[in-house]
């Protein structure tokens, strides 16, 4: 049930937020972009079971690819998304060949190392990327040649929402297709899947590559909307925050990824506006509360409510 209703509820919520917060469109757009990144992580981690703390590598690759493409080749937004998706996919495929041979902590460390190397390369290639000052001079053409990026951020909002919806739909279909089901099988029991003749390694590489492409698209959105790309798009903090949002919402459910992003960013926005110095208290308490009381993430809230706050689900 939830699987069918939740996406439409979230879409309705996004439209409602557009009208409720017309002056905060830039903030809402950031949530949408982040949700695309967290969805890519959900595919990689929630479905394929690949624990990574380096998803920012592909986000950053996409952001720089889209930025450079717009500056030097063609400033069409959709073309930029495609280029960024390819950039993210290529990097994910090549690094995945090495990284996915490992498991557990080693795998996590390898993904961190990939992102760190990308960060350093972007920093060193100052002539191309602008280094720590950021890649500037990105001026986008109208979306589909029709909708110009406006000052208030309306175009940016609808554009990001459309991309998010497209990614969400794509992932929904994918996870129900045989490929998605086999990923779930691998996640639950790699040995059994191997026994029935599935190449676990190559399926994981494929999922990782797809995840890289989607993260690249998220990076491109950020580059196009902000008109600037900085080294921070490769940062460990970004990877870690995306992971927190995903686990917060609940892994392995696409709407959980969106919900987690929404809640995390709203709490952050609210806490940082009220008491920035102490906002970490709020976010730390929220994270701990979710682990202990909603171990399956925020998606479990309805179930938990049904049980009328019964036993602590954390033990």
């Amino acid at each position: 049930m939830m699987n069918r209703i939740a996406p439409f509820a979230l879409l309705a919520l996004a439209v409602a937020l557009y009208f409720a917060l017309p002056y905060n469109l830039a903030f809402l757009t950031r949530i949408l972009i982040m949700a695309v990144l967290v969805l890519s992580l959900d595919l990689v981690l929630g479905f394929a079971g690949i624990a990574t703390l380096g998803q920012a590598a592909f986000y950053g690759a996409g952001a720089y690819a889209a930025g450079l493409f717009a500056i030097h080749a063609w400033a069409d937004p959709i073309a930029g998304l495609v280029v960024a998706g390819v950039a993210g996919a290529v990097l994910a495929f090549i690094s995945g060949l090495i990284v996915l041979r490992a498991h557990g902590l080693t795998l996590i460390m390898l993904t961190i190392a990939v992102a760190a190397i990308c960060h350093e390369i972007a920093n060193k290639a100052r002539d191309v990327t602008g280094g720590a000052d950021g890649l500037r001079g990105i001026r986008m053409e109208p979306v589909l040649g029709l909708f110009e990026f406006d000052f208030v951020g309306q175009t940016g909002f609808w554009y990001a929402l459309a991309v998010l919806a497209a990614v969400f739909t794509f992932l929904t279909l994918l996870t129900r297709a045989p490929f998605g089901l086999s990923l779930r099988g691998i996640h639950e029991s790699p040995e059994r899947m191997a026994a029935i003749g599935t190449s676990v390694y190559w399926r994981r590489v494929a999922a990782y590559t797809l995840g890289g492409a989607i993260a690249g698209v998220a990076g491109a959105l950020s580059a196009q909307v902000t008109q600037l790309v900085s080294l921070e798009s490769f940062s460990f903090t970004l990877s870690a925050e995306a992971l927190i949002m995903l686990i917060l919402g609940g892994t392995g459910r696409l709407y959980g990824a969106v919900l987690g992003t929404l809640v995390f960013m709203f709490v952050h926005h609210w806490a940082a506006a009220n008491d920035p110095f102490n906002w970490l208290f709020v976010i730390g308490a929220l994270v701990l509360a979710v682990v202990f009381f909603l171990p399956r993430g925020l998606v479990a809230v309805p179930t938990a409510l049904k049980r009328l706050g019964g036993q602590n689900a954390g033990s």
Binding site: L45, A113, I117, L280, F281, P295
Partner: protein, 287 residues
Amino acid sequence: MTLFLNILVDGVAYGMILFMISVGLSVTMGLMRVVNLAHGGFALLGGTFAHWFAAELGLPFWPALVLAVALTVALSLPLERVIYRRIYGFTDLQQVLATIGLTFLMIASVNLWQGSSLLPVPLLEGLKASVDLGFRTLPAHRLMVIAAGLAVVLGLWWLLERTRFGIRLRAAVDNRGTASAHGINTDRIFMAAFGLGAGLAALGGVLGAEILPIDAYYPLRYMVLFLIVVAVGGMGSIAGSFLAAIGLGLLETAARYLAPDFATILFFALVMALLALRPNGLIVRAQ
């Protein structure tokens, strides 16, 4: 030749600092198998208490160090009771989330108490001096860290391999049920081991503070560094962590001497190569 000796001396000195700051993690994460991202948080608490005792209350260095470690251990035990005991059975990802949440709370607390500027721990005058090695000098506190690192590695080896506590801990980690059935109080063993990990974290935080200075964001800033040492060393192996720390220290120091421009890329590329070749770390603990 001088260059080679320089790399050797500085590499070992730096590697020993890496060992000191991450050895606590190889106890909690390596031996006890908790993805303990809050390790840096305990180091931060140790460093903050040492700053408070030494710089604000005016205690000399050694008593401040001992009190800071003791206070961190005293804080870690109730935390183990209330939080960690419940997360031992969680999945890795839930452990990540829980310990990150805890880290945030620790950072926020130190931030509220001491602000976000650096929290230096004043050293003894004797430790500030330079020691002449013949071909160059080395700060005395680096020698002190080298000595402390050797003492810790020997002490841990003795504790884990030669005492009843060590045998019981390994039994409890390998199979908690069986260990309990044999009359081992696993709750108490885990609590003691956790306190040991937190104490070592605090000790490393204070002794390493000359290179990795303490401030509220310490746990996040150096989280990757701690994790690399433990991952390269191999989970559950103190000797592996020791080898990894010295090796990485030498590697990074050599890269900084020989090719400073590419030191970061070189460092991570070599870590990747090492992990790809030995995915379970340098030393794999026999099961």
